[in-house]
Amino acid sequence: MNDLSQASLNAFQLLISGNTDIWEIISLSFSVSFSAILIATPFALIIAFCLAFFQFKLRRACIALFNTFMSVPAVIIGLTLYLLLSRSGPLGDLRLLFTHKAMIIGQILLCFPLLVAMAHATFQAADRRAWETAITLGAKPWRAFFTLVYEVRFGLIAAIVAGFGRVIAEIGCSMMVGGNILHSTRNIPTAIALETSKGEFAQGIALGIVLLVLSLSLNAGVSVFQGKGELQQ
């Protein structure tokens, strides 16, 4: 117990003193996860919109597919990507394994189905009149799409935050395709796993605090934001 409180104290000291290793790990985590979300979101929104607003063959199958893929474990995505990117794999020539980029690709794959599914639910619940009104007032389809995105922004932001929450905290995929290399591909979850296994609790706890505070504040933020959306109805 004494050890633990000592470690927690050390953890706070590490964070406050601006320990470069720790802050490097934190910033890497953020840059990877932000990049993944930033790249995945536009495509996910367009697909979700098409699934909600247009009738076409295989529409139902597509929706079911994305809902199913949402539950694929991170480590399976990591394994698949590892096999694809490894030297002898079909994409081995790209030399992406154990790089920043590989981690971003992994996280994109991880959050994409979740983004599509949640954004689809949001567009599905959106008012069809919003789209029709934009079109009849002379908006081109692209413009009408952005108008609709703005109208349902609360739901979409909740989807994006949920996607970010999933990738910032996942460990399986980052570990497999990133390799947990210090100063290169070590992010918060892989660092926590490593430090804890080495018995270096202070660093593990410090990073754990950052992750926890982040998750809690994101969720709180979404609740407040969604509440605001409801009040306006």
Partner: protein, 236 residues
């Protein structure tokens, strides 16, 4: 009397049910046509087809000397006609920006758009609402804002879906005055409704829709008087 647009052989099936089956419908220019029909007769569906928002299985359009299949005519219909929902949708923004929406889409600058919006609001006696959040307006106010938002774009045809449903007498009166003024400005108007008495005096032509088929209205020009004298006709 010239026709603004003629639509022929409109067929539309939704969920295996024939919703529209119309041989021919002509909408006269610069006049007001009232389409009556009971709930579910296909009024809303027909309006969406005419305004280019809903794809029919089949339909040919005669418009501005051209005869086109609906699919080819769609962009023209969307551009020239404006459809107003039964409960109009206002964007989550100020009344001013709602009315300016179409002007922005047409490439107007912000300054010019705002000036036009202010004039339009003045026209509709709605100036006091300019900076209000559109989502907070009452149903009647929303209807009149939506009407102003449509008028400012000078559409060739305005399609109004039950413009006075769920309005009190005052709001009905105000809306009907706005419609009267639109008509006198030369805008072609198509209205549908299942209650005729508030709009009767604006309409020049009457059509009746039954189970997706157009039947000739009892007379081409009915007056409010006739409706009152003959109550049985009122319950269409």
């Amino acid at each position: 009397m010239t026709d603004l647009i003629d639509l022929n052989n409109i067929h539309l099936t939704l969920a295996d049910k024939a919703v529209l089956n119309i041989k021919s419908i002509s909408i006269p220019a610069h006049q007001c046509t009232l389409i009556t029909g009971r709930n579910g007769s296909g009024k809303t569906t027909l309006f969406k087809v005419i305004s280019g928002l809903l794809k029919p299985n089949r339909a040919t359009i005669e418009y501005q000397g051209l005869t086109l299949p609906w699919k080819k005519a769609k962009p023209i219909l969307q551009k020239d006609f404006i459809y107003l929902h039964q409960n109009p949708y206002l964007f989550d923004d100020t009344v001013l920006n709602n009315i300016a929406y179409g002007l922005y889409r047409a490439g107007e600058s912000k300054a010019v758009a705002h000036q036009k919006v202010m004039q339009a609001l003045d026209w509709a006696n709605l100036s006091h609402l300019a900076h209000r959040s559109a989502k907070q307006l009452s149903g009647g106010e929303k209807q009149r804002v939506a009407l102003t938002r449509a008028r400012i774009l000078s559409p060739r045809l305005l399609l109004l879906d039950e413009p006075t449903a769920s309005m009190d007498t005052d709001a009905k009166q105000q809306t009907s005055e706005l419609l009267q003024r639109l008509k006198s400005e030369g805008v072609s108007i198509l209205i549908c409704s299942h209650e005729t008495h508030t709009i009767d005096h604006i309409a020049d032509h009457f059509l009746h829709l039954e189970n997706g088929e157009l039947t000739p209205a009892s007379s081409s020009k009915r007056t409010s008087n006739v409706t009152v004298l003959n109550p049985s006709k009122k319950s269409i």
